[in-house]
Symmetry: C2
Subunit: 398 residues, 2 copies
Amino acid sequence: MNLSKRAIEVQESPIRKLYPYAVKARDKGVKIYSLNIGQPDIETPEIMLDVFRNLQEKIVAYGPSQGLDIYREALVHYFQHLNIFINENDIIGTTGGSEALVFAMTVTCNQGEEILVFEPFYTNYNGFATMADVRLRPITTYAETGFALPTREVIEKHITRKTRAILICNPGNPTGTVYTRAEMEMLAEVCKKHHLYLISDEVYREFVYEGEKVTSVLELKGCEELAILCDSVSKRYSACGARVGCIVSRNKELMAATLKFAQARLCAPTIDQMAIAACIGLPDSYIADVLAEYDKRRNLVYDALTKVEGLVCVKPRGAFYIIAKLPIENAEDFIIWLLENYRVNNETIIMAPAEGFYATPGLGRNELRIAYILNTEDLTKAMHIFTTGLEEYKKVKL
Amino acid sequence: MNLSKRAIEVQESPIRKLYPYAVKARDKGVKIYSLNIGQPDIETPEIMLDVFRNLQEKIVAYGPSQGLDIYREALVHYFQHLNIFINENDIIGTTGGSEALVFAMTVTCNQGEEILVFEPFYTNYNGFATMADVRLRPITTYAETGFALPTREVIEKHITRKTRAILICNPGNPTGTVYTRAEMEMLAEVCKKHHLYLISDEVYREFVYEGEKVTSVLELKGCEELAILCDSVSKRYSACGARVGCIVSRNKELMAATLKFAQARLCAPTIDQMAIAACIGLPDSYIADVLAEYDKRRNLVYDALTKVEGLVCVKPRGAFYIIAKLPIENAEDFIIWLLENYRVNNETIIMAPAEGFYATPGLGRNELRIAYILNTEDLTKAMHIFTTGLEEYKKVKL
């Protein structure tokens, strides 16, 4: 029995593909620090967990396809607090940010059409693009220049007759970049001129460390028809397993079309939506405290990496990832080697090889992504394993 | 800004499209009995709700992309109880049965390839097919013959070079059919001969009223490579808002490919999976009691319908829907008229027009689907509104 071509070609997640090696090591009693996946160790807010604990519902029933009213109303307030003014009808609740991205690709592009992305990009965009039968056309950015956005001229050179949208992740996973307002306005100008949608994945909106304010795609003037926000509560409230996100746009036709796809899959998880709606009651200090904790982690990881000879990395300004370019040939081999061979006090680490975050073949092979999502004590041990492991690996392999 | 062709063409759910009329009536203080959607009024089992209420987790974390171990182990036991022997690796947990169906279409078909379906079929297959860029090629079945499966010859005549799978819903939504073992074996033979996958949506497995046992696609001999089960816990445990389903196959390559798509969207809702896993502890009497209740409802609705002059319907043997062919031209107009104009004691009903359950243009226009998912008291009132409303409508419109 043949499988479809796309089933054979779809990318295996570089974030999860080395997981079996971790399982093998764990089965031998080795402790693994997981720096491969953006699963924070921050506790989910009590106010959210209480919704589960105090559940009064007798029936876990379908919700509306566009999302529960209380969830969408909570989002309206959340965005209002950010000086972004939308109403409930501009929002469709989705099953995580993942579904929002698949919807955005599906409603904007015909099969085989193209979306521009800046590589390295969130690797799962590849899977979503395969689902939606959309080609991701990469524009390369570089660790050496802080993964800065290319000039307008470079971007425009990549636009073809098939280009339908530009997709950004801001703050950037895996790069840690935060685009300036000027950069966002440049992208908006390009999109307006070439009739492209601007799809903005802003799930790390709260995670900015240098006092910047993220410019949301929804704030751009004159972009009401082309701006599409994809969002998720997973990171903001450390609730990754609650599959709740949203797609937001003021383009009414686009939202009406998206709703039809949303109707086919009936609804996003209802209890999760109720739980997330409660988080609107959190004070600003909640995010401030979380951010302070991540900032410590960021500094710890960055300081450890800068001490490694020949390693290139840029201090991330946002999100909670860092791309490290290693002074070795193949980062994936190094990670597998760590999982199979290298222990410090019977502990080791798993990270994500970065090659899968690039669409251009061959790029990123000597890079890896570290998610700094563990407490500083664990992270200190993990980075010690990383740096001593790399020394050892170079001795063994070079 | 142009939308994609598929965004314009994707079907609006006939189950949910008339909902705005219901909202309008409700806003005027009219009580609506909802017979349009398969949302049972049966309470979700306490054993499941207790998992939410007793939540110990401090972090609502990502689960494995293939589903939580406890959930997949519970499913292994569940199927074992049905004399179906699979192991955890044959299962991927999905976000409802919906995602399982999108996965099944995506891994079996290239873009533009075809899946045979027997119409009328579960209308949301249209949306999934648009998502997956697959053509549903309908083979018509008829109310007059109880929506019986066509002969092998008729089925084989519909197979083209582009056909990759046959998709069935057993027990059938919206038809209430339950395929015999002989019918299932005939389908298996056709699939084997023509190298087609057999995708079986069995979410209503427990809902059979005539003592039959549903023959699962997983029980068919020699079909290990081509059999794909799509399942959901929504109906079985009256937990539609818990978005938890699964795709099951013994075809290892197919499951490996499916896992890659599953990795892209990270995981299904984790707390919902935990809650569902607890339901494995329910005694057989749980389903027996639920079934007895539905059987009462089935008889009530069927008896009411058979009293309507000129109405054609067949007594459903499974699921909880009935297709009624009305002695009027347009069932959708009738439903809208009920919602806008017809009240009994300031109450009215909403049902789903059946045209959208057919892929052949023009078919089903005078049919509607009734979901018998309300208690007998409400259902009695609803069917009274239906029958008297139809009389009145005929007077006004014919």
